[in-house]
Amino acid sequence: MKKRALIMNDLDNVVTVLEDVKKGETICFKVAGSNRTVKAIQSIARGHKIAIKTIERGEKVIKYGVPVGYAMTHIGVGEHVHVHNTASLRTEGVK
């Protein structure tokens, strides 16, 4: 069964999953009215984010159409995007 996710802005490179998702499950969401899917490569809890585009190390994580952080490592499509691989732009260059 497909799980649902929400994109906040068409420019975003992450979506928020609306149900708990297990590794290998397909997640569907809508971009500009048309249906899109992404396959989870790991389990992701409801309310957490999954990458729908590749995000290179140092690249911005985009949600609501604006940067909400930067990738500390390479993030692949379907990967969980959270504190283990993303940091606040306010801390950029601190470490």
């Binding site: 906040m8 409801r46 609501y64």
Partner: protein, 391 residues
């Protein structure tokens, strides 16, 4: 789009016809309550300030009291004084009367005590009430000044209710309405997003400095927690468990209720008068909902949009507060408090665009006279923000 509202003598537009008893000091709160109970349609403004205050703190309190009395939703005012307080009741009444409405002043120590004051107050208010009767007229939605607020937030606030309000706010600004957002601590991390929308560099600079001030204050008081978590500012372990990764993400979830495109036309101090030029304004308030709403109402907002995930019942004595939730369970459980349910954005993939239309429809109905849930339940919360010691 049009609403049916009250056109005041000074040209400003109110959407309620409130007559209020406004104490100049907390000492007469009970007398104000007793008077208001006896006259239909009258509400007392209960607050905890008015004396033993100095400097900026006193000035902010005074400005807030004048602002509440001058709000276009208020048709008539009885200023009720004790007689020895720091806020001079006659001055307060005089400054409110500049908004061109019936304003009277009554001082307990001069009237001979509680019972005589109550009796005289009832007489004055029944006369004011007879004077202010008037019909609603058709005016454009541009005459609205709307406060946007969120409280009791959960993940649905950031994903559904706040963005839906944001879409509505962009449309309302296009229709020339004035919108006010507040709570500076929730803006930390959104400086770049907001700056691009500032009408000029002066506003952008003011905003950046104010957010930086609040960020520093919050760090000063929460250093231990911050060092333990290594997460900057106002983001809790619960937030992280819930899926929020950075302060930018958390703040954007809140700030999205201020729209995405509409220009920011000014940065306002607490209770500062909201200008008549359309667009978004940012007001300097704390993140305590009741004090924040009070500041925006004192600035002249006549209606409030309030997003809540967990559900909060907050209301205001002179302004209808429209509760909007993105949480289907809260919408069902707290149906006597919630005005608009946009949870189908999450449960049925309804678009934020459609949800915003639902909000605008409710704004038009409530602005034109339909009571909000907080009004039906007689909520009358007032909290005046203190910025100095009580001496």
């Amino acid at each position: 789009m049009n609403i049916r509202a009250y056109v005041r003598a000074d040209g400003r537009i109110g959407i309620r016809n409130k007559v209020i008893v406004l104490p100049s000091v907390a000492c007469v709160n009970n007398v104000a309550f007793a008077i208001a109970q006896r006259v239909k349609g009258v509400v007392n403004i209960r607050h905890e300030v008015g004396c033993a205050q100095v400097g900026d703190d006193f000035r902010q309190t005074y400005k807030t009291l004048v602002g509440i009395g001058s709000n276009p939703n208020v048709a008539g005012v009885l200023v009720l004084g004790l007689g020895c307080e720091r806020v001079i009741p006659q001055e307060l009444a005089h400054d409110i009367s500049k908004s061109n409405k019936p304003v009277e002043c009554l001082i307990l120590q001069e009237e001979g005590g509680t019972t005589d004051t109550i009796s005289k107050g009832i007489d004055i208010l029944s006369e004011i009430t007879q004077k202010i009767q008037q019909e609603r007229q058709e005016v454009t939605i541009s005459s609205l000044k709307i406060a946007v607020e969120c409280g009791g937030s959960d993940y649905t606030s950031a994903l559904a209710a706040n963005p839906a309000i944001g879409y509505a706010v962009d449309k309302l600004c296009d229709m020339k309405a004035k919108i006010v957002i507040s709570e500076l601590i929730e803006l930390i991390g959104t400086e770049n997003f907001l700056e691009k929308r500032c009408q000029n560099p002066e506003i952008a600079l003011k905003l950046r400095k104010a957010i930086e001030r609040v960020a520093e204050e919050s760090q000063k008081y929460t250093r231990d927690e911050l060092e333990a978590n290594l997460i900057p500012n106002n983001i809790s372990p619960g937030n992280v468990r819930g899926g929020i990764t950075t302060i930018e993400e958390k703040s954007l979830g809140a700030v999205s209720k201020g729209g995405y495109q509409c220009p920011i036309m000014g940065f306002l101090s607490y209770a500062e008068k909201v200008p008549d030029v359309e667009g978004l304004y940012v007001m300097d308030t704390p993140s305590y909902d009741i004090e924040s709403l009070t500041g925006m109402v004192a600035g002249g907002c006549t209606l409030a949009l309030f997003s809540t995930g967990l559900g909060t019942p907050v209301g205001n004595p002179i302004v209808p507060v429209i509760k909007i939730t993105g949480n289907d369970k809260t919408a069902a459980r707290m149906r006597t408090d919630i005005d608009v349910d946009v949870s189908d954005v999450l449960t049925k993939s309804r678009s934020l665009e459609e949800a915003s239309e639902k909000i605008i429809k409710e704004i038009i109905e409530i602005a034109s006279g339909k009571p909000s849930k907080s009004e039906i339940l007689n909520y009358s919360d007032i909290g005046i923000n203190r910025i100095g010691p009580r001496l």
